[in-house]
């Protein structure tokens, strides 16, 4: 009998505890922010761990800065961000969005940095009518995928097409091999580049896709070497890019290497060493840290004050995402539909990454700069 009583007591205690948790969580939402302001929760699904954790952390730094500024300035709202780690994986991103929508009741979501998780999570947010704004996902699949999806980073159709033009005309390459990562980003870039390059009379002599966890690229490089290309286009990220450049040099491959904006990260140099020198890649973000534009100058100053270091591209993109959501809420209120309408009508917004205008597909169009790696530094390319 005492065992039954103990069992009942334990169940009652557990049940009460769970009830308290739910009630407290609900109350927190209804209480409001500081000094009678309405508390608004935004969500962020970013790769805070995993192979592109640098991007996730940089974006979150930019987001946090924007939220701090908004909270100092806003008379009506207190903003907070609920972060979820996508780990750079689609399944994690989907779970994260469900939790943000169902539990945290977010009114807008920032994320993901990379295309695979973003493609997976957009339909979930769309069904819940929650706007998503991505700092750097670039797959062409995302264009027009949902009327609730926007991005402050151009689609690969811009970058891939641009590099095809550069390869064929500026660099005079005739035969190019492609090494691409097997995900939405890599496949998208491969397709856009191939189409553009062959339209200019070039030949794609080899296209090798590798898995995300690949570390030894020698079998791929040997096949590419046998195809005899004069250029090799890398459609992947900085870690695999660095490894490919290093191993290609070791194998004696002398082709011209072309890359993507995603290769601009210090880890490319750490892994690739001096083999990274000479890589030519597009910088298609519109971000210019030396710009005299007030929005850029103010952002750079505020970032350095808060973090003691320069921001970089990814932090600036995260900042713009958060700032746009905050401005939408200030202008139209904290509802998914009104935020979406504000974003859809955004024209000529001056952000930390330059001028932002969303087209009917939720995409932005920004000027593209050609850059290269020279003596371990990322510099503007002068042919």
């Amino acid at each position: 009998m005492s065992r039954v009583r103990d069992h009942l007591l334990a169940c009652t205690a557990l049940g009460t505890f769970l009830l308290l948790c739910v009630a407290t969580n609900g109350c927190k939402k209804e209480e409001g922010g500081a000094r009678g302001k309405t508390l608004v929760t935004l969500g962020a699904v970013l790769p805070l761990t995993g192979e592109v954790a640098n991007w996730g952390k940089d974006s979150s730094n930019g987001v946090d800065l924007a939220i701090d500024e908004a909270n100092r300035r806003s008379a009506k709202y207190t903003f907070r961000v609920a972060y979820e780690d996508s780990k750079g994986k689609a399944a994690e991103a989907v779970g994260a969005v469900r939790k943000l929508v169902d539990v945290d009741k977010v009114v807008g979501i920032i994320g993901d940095n990379i295309s695979g998780p973003t493609v997976a999570m957009v339909p979930v947010a769309d069904a819940a009518k929650v706007p998503v704004i991505s700092p750097s996902a670039s797959s062409p699949k995302l264009s027009g995928m949902s009327k609730y999806f926007f991005r402050v980073y151009p689609s690969d159709t811009a970058e891939g097409g641009f590099m095809a033009e550069v390869a064929a005309t500026k660099l005079g390459l005739k035969k190019v091999a492609i090494l691409y990562i097997n995900n939405d980003f890599g496949v998208g870039l491969r397709d856009v580049f191939s189409k553009g390059f062959t339209a200019k009379g070039g030949q794609i002599v080899s296209a090798q896709g590798y898995n995300e966890d690949q570390t030894d690229f020698r079998p791929y490089l040997t096949r590419v070497q046998e195809a005899g290309p004069d250029g090799i286009y890398l459609a992947g990220y900085y870690k695999d890019g660095g490894a490919i450049l290093k191993q290609a040099r070791e194998l004696g491959i002398n082709a011209r290497f072309l890359g993507s904006t995603t290769h601009e990260d210090p880890q490319l140099i750490t892994i690739g060493g001096d083999a990274a020198d000479g890589l030519v890649y597009p910088y298609s973000t519109g971000y210019d840290e030396d710009s005299a534009d007030k929005a850029v100058v103010d952002f750079n100053t505020a970032f350095k004050t808060k973090y003691g270091k320069g921001p970089g591209l990814i932090a600036a993109l995260g900042y713009d995402c958060a700032s746009l959501l905050v401005d939408a809420i200030e202008a139209r209120g904290p509802s998914g539909e009104t935020i979406r309408d504000f974003l859809a009508n955004t024209k000529g917004y001056h952000g930390a990454t330059g001028e932002i205008t969303f087209d009917e597909s939720g995409d932005v169009h920004k000027p593209i700069l050609l850059k290269t790696v020279q003596a371990g530094k990322f510099v503007v390319w002068k042919p």
Binding site: T49, A53, D213, T222, A243, L245, R249, G252, I269, T270
Partner: protein, 287 residues
Amino acid sequence: MGSILVAAIVSGSIYALVSLGFALAFRISSVFNLAHGILLVTAGYLNYWLAVQHGLSPWISVPTSLALVGALGLTIEAVLIPAAKTAGLKPVDLLLLSWLMLLIVQDVLAIAFESQSIYVGASQVREGWAVFGGRVTPLQALIVATSILVGAALFLIIRRSATGQEVLAVGDDPRLAMICGLNVKKIIGLNAAAAALLTAGAGILMSYQERLDPTLGFRFSVIAIVSTLIGFPLGPAGAVVGAYVLALFETLVLYVVDPGLRDAAVYAGLFLVLVWTYRRSLVPPEG
């Protein structure tokens, strides 16, 4: 063809060090320790943490990593496994427990290093030397030389030295070895430390050659098991032969069939070896 040969020899050398470590430990414990591969990964990550994140010279980071992972291996093989056996756990139980240990350590490394792969490479990259139509870098040559020298030294120690004979004796029958006056615990400890050092050394060498990932441990445990089984009829040095055979098979699959089939090649090797050893035990020898 030259590229395939060079790639097989380099991979085989890493596999040989890991497999030799496993075979030494297996000789005494008779346990398929799936946690063996975590010694390789842990050594690589520890060396990275000391050399890259704390800026220590390799003359300090490498011996420190070897010593710490050696102690971990000794704890697993000389303390935990014997204690589990004394407690009455069966080989299947030990296999499962070792797999759980692998998962735990893997997750700890993933949390500690934010699920990122690591690399301890040099900033200067040079074209490899042309060898048999392939290319070999100085680091790869060092890996091959280390594997050959260590393998040869170990073979001589096992076959020609008193300590080596004691290890074989304890492996054959620990109770009889004890009755004959051998210090069984000390021999098990020495053997476990040697096994761990071999595998840790492979991990450290790999971290200078390419990126290491927390989840690589299981793959290298399987490589060690497959290599040991292939070379089992040849005695302790058989794991080395098995390692090169497996590496050649894997390299042929990567270069001739598809470069994305690395894991599939290793697991196919495991499947074939298990079928082969199963058939050998079912079909009695003639006569």
